[in-house]
Structure formats: C-alpha cells, structure tokens
C-alpha cells in the first residue's frame, strides 16, 4: 500500500477558494502565519472573506494585505493591537470584528475539528464578551455556550511535511495551526521543508495527513517570516 501525494502549487490550491469563504489562518504574530498562502489569496483577489485568526498581524503584512484592500468582511479574533490599520477598519465599520478570549477561540476551533457542536465555559461570564451568549445550567453551575467554529478553508504553516500532508511544527509557530488544521472542509498547508514519504517518522507527526487536503511546498522563506526589528 502507498499513501497518496497531495502536493500542489499554492496558486492551484488557493484557486478553489470561493469569494465569501470563511478562512481560518494559523499564526500568533509572525511565527506560524502562512504569509505565502495569504499573499496568494490577495493576488487572486478573493473577496468578502470571513477570517478566523488569533491576531491581525502587523500593518502591511499577513492578513493585513487582505484587510487593507477591503477583502475582509468579518474577523473573528482575540487581539488586534499590533495592527493600527485593522483597528481603524473596525472603528470605521469597514470590517466587523468578533472578539473571543484566546483559549476559548482555540477550544471553539478544537471542538469544530473534533466534530463537537459547542463547548461550555465560565470564561468571560462577568465580562462584555458574554453579551448575547446562551447560558445553560450543568450540575448546578451556570455556563456559557461557545459554539464550535469550522471554516471552509484553513491555511496552515508547517515546518516539515511529507507529500501525504503529515505535518510537524517549530517552537511557538504551533499556536493555532494544529487545531485549525483539523477544523476546515479544505485544509491547505504550506511547508518550509518537504520530506519524502517516510521522511517524517510516525512519532514526529503532529498533524496527521488525514486532515490535510493540499500540501504546498514553499519555494523560499521570504523576509516577512524573519525576525521583526521594531
């Protein structure tokens, strides 16, 4: 038996994303952000997108390429403080922003990837994040229903991969990538290093290739993946 080859070009993988799609994007700051896939999304002029991402990167990079050019309708996120442009877009009503507690965003994504409809939590119950959320009582405790998140597409950045889509990550470039790689109808992963089948030992695999639809080897590691000098 042999596992299938899912390698493809970024142009081809991204071409199948329709306008209006909901797109999960890995990354926390620079580490783990799939800058090359995001640039391809902008190049192909995809519009009316809903993005799910921990942060909004910094002005001029990553998801800001999509926000600044008016391609994003809605953003589900935890913190956009490093992107003044995204804050301005939110304040001027050009994008709709839903804020989520960071770990609850991770759990909503994880639930989506695990085939569960929601998680129950007391996180944020005494804050404005609880506004409009359904409350249920479980074993005498009042808890908030946080609905699971799934997306049409997830854009993932991995360090190493094999052609079947088995993925391994580096350091704090994990963050939202492993849960998001399980929570979308179509999962597109870019990888810095493409190893042959068997090149990633089964014990090293963090995201099983079963979850991944398209594997895009990166031609180069561009400057935006590098150390940020502020």
């Amino acid at each position: 038996m042999k596992l299938s080859d899912k390698t493809t070009s970024m142009a081809e993988a991204v071409a199948a994303i329709p306008d209006g799609a909901t797109v999960m994007v890995g990354g926390f700051g620079v580490p783990g952000t799939p800058f090359a896939l995001l640039a391809e999304l902008a190049r192909q002029d995809k519009r009316d997108l809903t993005l799910i991402k921990n942060d909004a990167n910094e002005t001029g990079t990553g998801v800001d390429l999509l926000i600044a050019s008016g391609r994003v309708r809605r953003l589900i996120t935890t913190h956009i403080g490093l992107n003044a442009n995204a804050i301005a877009a939110m304040n001027e009503g050009r994008i709709e922003v839903e804020f989520c507690a960071q770990g609850i965003l991770a759990e909503r994504v994880r639930a989506g990837g695990a085939g569960l409809p929601a998680v129950l939590t007391d996180i944020g119950m005494q804050t404005e994040l609880s506004a409009g959320k359904q409350i249920v009582q479980v074993e005498g405790r009042c808890l908030m229903v946080e609905t699971a998140l799934r997306a049409d597409v997830a854009l993932i950045h991995a360090d190493r991969a094999d052609p079947f889509g088995n993925l391994a990550y580096r350091a704090t470039a994990r963050n939202f990538n492993p849960p998001m790689a399980m929570a979308a109808t179509t999962v597109i992963a870019e990888a810095e290093v493409l190893l042959p089948l068997g090149g990633l030992a089964p014990d090293e695999v963090e995201t099983p290739g079963v979850f991944v639809d398209h594997l895009c080897p990166m031609a180069e590691i561009t400057e935006e993946y590098g150390v940020v000098r502020r």
Binding site: I87, G124, T127
Partner: protein, 227 residues
C-alpha cells in the same frame, strides 16, 4: 516589544523597587505567567538558577532569557512578541494546550498590569471604550483562572488619578480576581474588608498612600514595613 530595548530597572528608582518587590512574590517551583510590559521585568530580579517555570500563552513552558535580534530564532517569541530562548526542560505546545494549562489550575501565579483595580478584586485591563479596544487576548483566562492573580501597576495614572478604586468604571477583565497589588507606593492586599495596606515604598508615608488610593485603605495594627 523589542527584546534589546529592555533595560533592567534599578532598584533605586520607585518603579525598580516595585518590580524587585513583586519578584519576591514568586516562590520556588511555581508555574508563572507574566503579563506584557512591566511584569515581564521581574525576571531580571530572579537569579539564573532560581527554580521557576515561566509560561507564555502562545505556547511555551520554561521560557528562558530574551535574545537580541541577531541571536533570535524567528519561530520563538513570547506573547508580547519578544524573542525568547529555551532552557533545559522547556516545552512547546499549541494554543489549546496552553490555555488548558491555565483553565485547569496548573498556573500558580499570574502578574498582570491594570487600568483599574476595585476593592472587591475586580480587574479592568483590556479596554477603554472609544480609545483603546484591541481585544483581550488571553487576559480574561489568565485573570479568571490563575490560582493567584496579582497586579503590578503605578499607583496612579498619568494624570494622577487613582487606579485603585471602590468600583471599576472600565469594562472588566475578571471579577473578584485580584488578591494583591504591587505599586510604586505600596503593597496592598485585597481582603473581604477591602484594600489593606501591607508595605510602603521607601520614603512614602502611610498618609501619602491613603491619599493616592481611591477607596478606603485599611491599616493593620503595628508598624508598616517598607520595601
């Protein structure tokens, strides 16, 4: 935050004394999350062999020293964006695991900044409506679920208004969460009876602390130690 711009504060100045005093809150063996900004600087007051596990919510336990840009690993930052390093025994994990650790009670202590702290322990540190609303990031879970939540902040804001109040006026991060506050003027505990003065900074009188506090300040019997 730029790693190479962090200059250890000297204990001679009031802020430096506050940071040095807050560092003593960290007991050996604790798992600790330090909030972005001033709390990060308590690290400079812990010896290189001090047994503590620093957690950063973007996915690392055992956070080591910050590195200058030329030595930085592009894939290794803390939640404030500073380039950090591993130490023997460090681990990396995804965001779901990182907050599982927080919510399930594995985080012994978090030290956070504040816009306002109320005498009942309410904390506001993430939003100023109309002026500052970047989102709460991981602050809500840290403040709500760390086993002990302490605040490090200047006693008053830049205009001289007290940050310690009867009630928070800004949107809450967590209710009833804070147990101790380290400021440039004092160490104050949040007790069922409200704010209680524990220590004064060198050269600061009890009257000055009381004056700068926007809620009644209980004074315990006996002398108030200085730090």
């Amino acid at each position: 935050m730029s790693a190479d711009k962090i200059v250890p504060l000297k204990p001679a100045d009031p802020r430096g004394r506050m940071v040095a005093r807050a560092a003593r809150e960290i007991a050996p063996g604790m798992v600790v999350n330090l909030g972005i900004g001033l709390p990060t600087q308590v690290v400079d007051h812990l010896g290189p062999d001090y047994p503590v596990c620093l957690h950063t919510e973007n996915g690392m336990a055992g956070v080591g020293p910050t590195l200058p840009h030329e030595l930085a690993d592009r894939n290794l930052i803390d939640a404030g964006g500073a380039y950090v390093s591993p130490i023997p025994g460090s681990s990396y994990f995804d965001s779901a695991t990182s907050f599982a650790l927080v919510r399930s009670g594995r985080l012994d202590l978090t030290m956070l900044g504040a816009f306002e702290v109320a005498e009942n322990g309410d904390l506001a540190n993430w939003k100023i409506p109309g002026r500052f609303s970047p989102g709460a990031g991981g602050a809500i879970e840290l403040a709500q679920k760390a086993r002990r939540v302490v605040v490090m902040t200047t006693h008053c804001d830049r205009k001289g208004n007290p940050k310690l109040k009867r009630r928070c006026t800004l949107p809450l991060t967590a209710a009833g969460a804070v147990t101790r506050i380290f400021t440039d003027l004092a160490v104050i505990d949040v007790t069922p009876a409200g704010f209680t003065l524990r220590e004064c900074a060198q050269g600061v009188s009890v009257a000055e602390v009381t004056e700068a506090t926007g809620a009644p300040l209980r004074l315990p019997e006996g002398d108030i130690p200085t730090f």
